[in-house]
């Protein structure tokens, strides 16, 4: 029972971390219909910025988050305006290839700058935990979990209660109509991509705090996680990534305990397949995103 409770608790906080990785990816996919294969690379970029701030200025990773977010937002905005926007109307294969190529360029530059060694942001608290009965809850992952919740609710509030959010939502639903209403779609797309890139950077900061990262194996895994969680949670709902991340985290943790750790990936894929069979639009995805108009 102790082990089950521990696995469940770990699964919940790990799910929060996974949600954090996926929330930006889901946003870009849902609004722009771009499956951003460079999302993992953006996360690792954010991780390196936070790591550098920690190494050179001793800045705590949680305090580094605003700096990472602003820097990555600016980077994402420029990348969208200068690059992604060129193919935003193109067939999806072209956007896949472009973002994949962008990922390779970024990761090779990072490898040249930092080598392929694993890095971590060493803090006094991230690997520590507090105890409830016999269950340990790690501070670092708990921080990431709360961050995921705060970001998700903030994003939902942005989308529903601000003019910018309405403009983003409108552009995602019907770009032509949004333009007719005076919305500058190009700017809205760039802002959306910038927000997603900033969120990727924040996720990378958390990955670096609770685990380790490198420019060779980490980005691919993060992109794959984000992809699975986005499909699982569903697009068009700001809470989709959170729900998908939590489900995946709990399923992997408890499944790993019951069936041994070698089954974790199989469990994740099984959960994805079953969810898609029962609810093809994802757990809380909105079906209208499948029938939107693009002009």
């Amino acid at each position: 029972m102790t082990q089950f409770a521990q696995a469940a608790a770990y699964g919940v906080v790990q799910g929060g971390l996974l949600a954090l990785v996926a929330v930006g990816f889901s946003l870009v996919w849902g609004i722009m219909n771009v499956i951003n294969l460079s999302h993992g690379a953006f996360a690792v970029m954010g991780a390196y910025i936070a790591w550098l701030l920690n190494q050179h200025f001793g800045l705590d990773p949680f305090l580094a988050i605003p700096i990472v977010a602003v820097a990555m937002f600016a980077f994402g905005y420029v990348v969208q305006r200068g690059l992604i926007n060129l193919v935003v109307n193109a067939p999806i294969f072209l956007t896949l290839l472009l973002t994949f190529g962008l990922s390779l360029v970024i990761l090779n530059i990072l490898q040249l700058l930092f080598t392929a060694d694993d890095r971590t942001i060493d803090t006094s608290y991230a690997s520590q935990s507090f105890v409830i009965g016999t269950v340990n809850v790690p501070y670092g992952r708990l921080g990431a979990f709360f961050l995921a919740i705060v970001i998700t609710f903030a994003l939902a509030a942005l989308m529903t209660r601000t003019r910018l959010g309405h403009a983003i939502g409108a552009t995602g639903m019907d770009r032509g109509a949004a333009r007719l209403m005076g919305i500058r779609a190009r700017h809205i797309y760039a802002v959306t991509f910038g927000i997603a890139t900033a969120l990727a950077g924040v996720a990378g900061t958390m990955i670096a705090t609770v685990g380790s990262f490198n420019p060779t194996t980490t980005p691919g895994q993060l992109t794959l996680d984000a992809f699975v969680i986005s499909v699982l949670g569903g697009l068009g709902n700001m809470y989709g990534a959170l729900v998908g991340g939590l489900l995946l985290g709990i399923a992997e943790s408890i499944g790993g305990l019951l069936l041994t750790g070698t089954w974790v990936n199989a469990i994740a894929m099984a959960v994805l397949i079953v969810t898609l069979i029962i609810r093809p639009s994802g757990l809380i995805g909105k079906a209208q995103y499948g029938g939107r108009v693009e002009v």
């Binding site: 102790t2 082990q3 521990q6 696995a7 770990y10 790990q14 219909n33 499956i35 294969l37 999806i92 294969f93 896949l96 290839l97 994949f100 990922s103 390779l104 080598t115 392929a116 060694d117 694993d118 890095r119 971590t120 060493d122 690997s127 520590q128 935990s129 105890v131 016999t134 340990n136 790690p138 670092g140 609770v210 685990g211 380790s212 490198n214 060779t216 194996t217 691919g220 895994q221 992109t223 794959l224 992809f227 499909v231 697009l235 992997e252 943790s253 790993g256 305990l257 041994t260 750790g261 070698t262 974790v264 093809p280 639009s281 994802g282 995805g285 079906a287 995103y289 499948g290 029938g291």
Partner: protein, 417 residues
């Protein structure tokens, strides 16, 4: 609803292409009376960042040193060596394909890729093609159960990794009474754990949560960065020492996550191949302090040869060449250089680079080198060389086993009560 279901397939294809596109290759042709050593070595993928890199550097250093000393001498003339390498992307099947391609190019003298998995895949290809394979970093004894005649390993077999850790622990004060073993789901790690359990029981230690847990609840997938399921299985059993029979990624994850999950061994951690690698320290920082690791080579051994000089000279020259710290040296490079040296010695002994003659010379080789004694049994394993153990102290590898080579006493218990 998710639009364009084909996109899901497309993403999968592009992600798969990603791994393939990361590969690089470097081919160099030989000339005149030169000799070509060919090696598929991981430069990308799971092993590309550390173990594969170290192996490649060991091969390069060996060839540079051989050529600087005039090459391989036989038949009254000197023969320069050319090293041909290609990235196997840390994929065993790719390693085997590369070795087949080497055969098409008449490269018959093969140095192994990094790791037991890739070497297991390469050995039958070399056997079929009549190539000679000198194994530097594939320690799984299963490789040597197939009756291959052309595969020779300079390193100590997998059966000695965890047993060396157990022997080291048994000599420490206080000696552990209980140990838990986490093992990755690969042949090398599982076999190391298997022999380790037997050695622990022979030394009077109890393996928790059970002696067979390494095949079930504490078994983890290879090369993963989340081993929480194994740690949760250990939680509550309160072992004195947690031993990780796995490669770098799993070992780093185990030590980081143990702290998060409140799984704290009474005395400390030990692991097989990960601690004696510089990447382990860079990944874990201060959490790497006190971790014990088994290693194939330490510079304190009193061994030398005419190519590299003494073990200490090898360390100095190698670390200077590739910019490593002398206290954080990758032992896998010594394995690789020793494999390359064994091949060179066999060619010299055979008086020919003909693979059949080199194979015969390797089978009868008995050489004392900077790496220790190299001599192969009938299966191709080098069972004459012992293993050693190091502990990470102040970010440096400190030899602690055997006691006659120990430069500094072990800090034990490594974890404060």
């Amino acid at each position: 609803m998710i639009r364009r279901p084909g996109a899901l397939i497309a993403v999968g294809i592009v992600l798969a292409l990603g791994a393939a596109a990361c590969g690089t290759s470097s081919n160099t042709s030989t000339s005149g009376s030169g000799i070509t050593f060919a090696a598929p070595v991981s430069q990308t993928g799971a092993f590309g960042q550390a173990e594969g890199l170290y192996t490649l550097q060991g091969y390069k250093f060996c060839v540079q040193t051989l050529n600087a000393k005039g090459g391989i001498q036989y038949g009254g003339s000197s023969h320069q060596v050319t090293l041909v390498t290609q990235d196997d992307q840390s994929v065993s099947a790719t390693s085997a394909q590369i070795v087949d391609q080497y055969n098409d190019k008449s490269y018959k003298l093969i140095l192994s890729p990094y790791g037991s998995g890739a070497t297991t895949a390469v050995a039958p290809v070399a056997e079929r093609n009549g190539q000679v394979l000198v194994d530097s970093n594939g320690a799984d004894t299963a490789i040597f159960t197939h009756g291959y005649k052309n595969t020779f390993a300079v390193l100590s077999p997998s059966s000695t990794y965890v047993t060396t850790i157990i022997d080291t622990l048994a000599g420490l004060n206080p000696a552990p009474k209980t140990v838990a073993i986490i093992a990755a789901n690969d042949g090398f790690s599982q076999h190391s754990a298997d022999t380790g359990v037997k050695e622990a029981q022979a030394k009077g230690m109890t393996v928790v949560p059970s002696a067979t847990a390494y095949t079930s609840s504490t078994k983890v997938a290879a090369n993963v960065t989340d081993v929480s399921s194994a740690l949760i299985a250990i939680k509550g059993t309160n072992p004195d020492v947690i031993i990780i029979s796995a490669h770098l990624n799993e070992a780093v994850a185990a030590i980081k996550q143990a702290s998060e999950l409140g799984v704290k061994p009474k005395y400390g951690f030990a692991a097989t191949v990960a601690p004696p690698t510089p990447a382990f320290i860079s990944a874990l920082g201060t959490k790497s302090e006190g971790v014990i690791g088994s290693t194939q080579w330490v510079p304190e051994i009193s061994a030398s040869d005419s190519i590299f000089g003494s073990a200490k000279q090898f360390l100095t020259n190698f670390t200077n060449t590739f910019g490593w710290s002398a206290t954080q040296y990758p032992y896998q490079a010594a394995d690789a250089a020793a494999a390359c040296e064994a091949l060179a010695l066999a060619i010299q002994k055979a008086g020919s680079a003909d693979p059949a003659a080199v194979r015969t010379a390797l089978a009868g080789l008995s050489a004392d080198t900077f790496y220790g004694h190299i001599q192969f049994d009938s299966t191709g394993m080098n069972t004459t060389k012992p293993m050693y153990a190091i502990q990470i102290q102040k970010s440096a590898f400190v030899t602690i086993y055997p006691s006659n080579l120990a430069s500094t006493p072990a800090i034990w218990p490594a974890i404060a009560a």
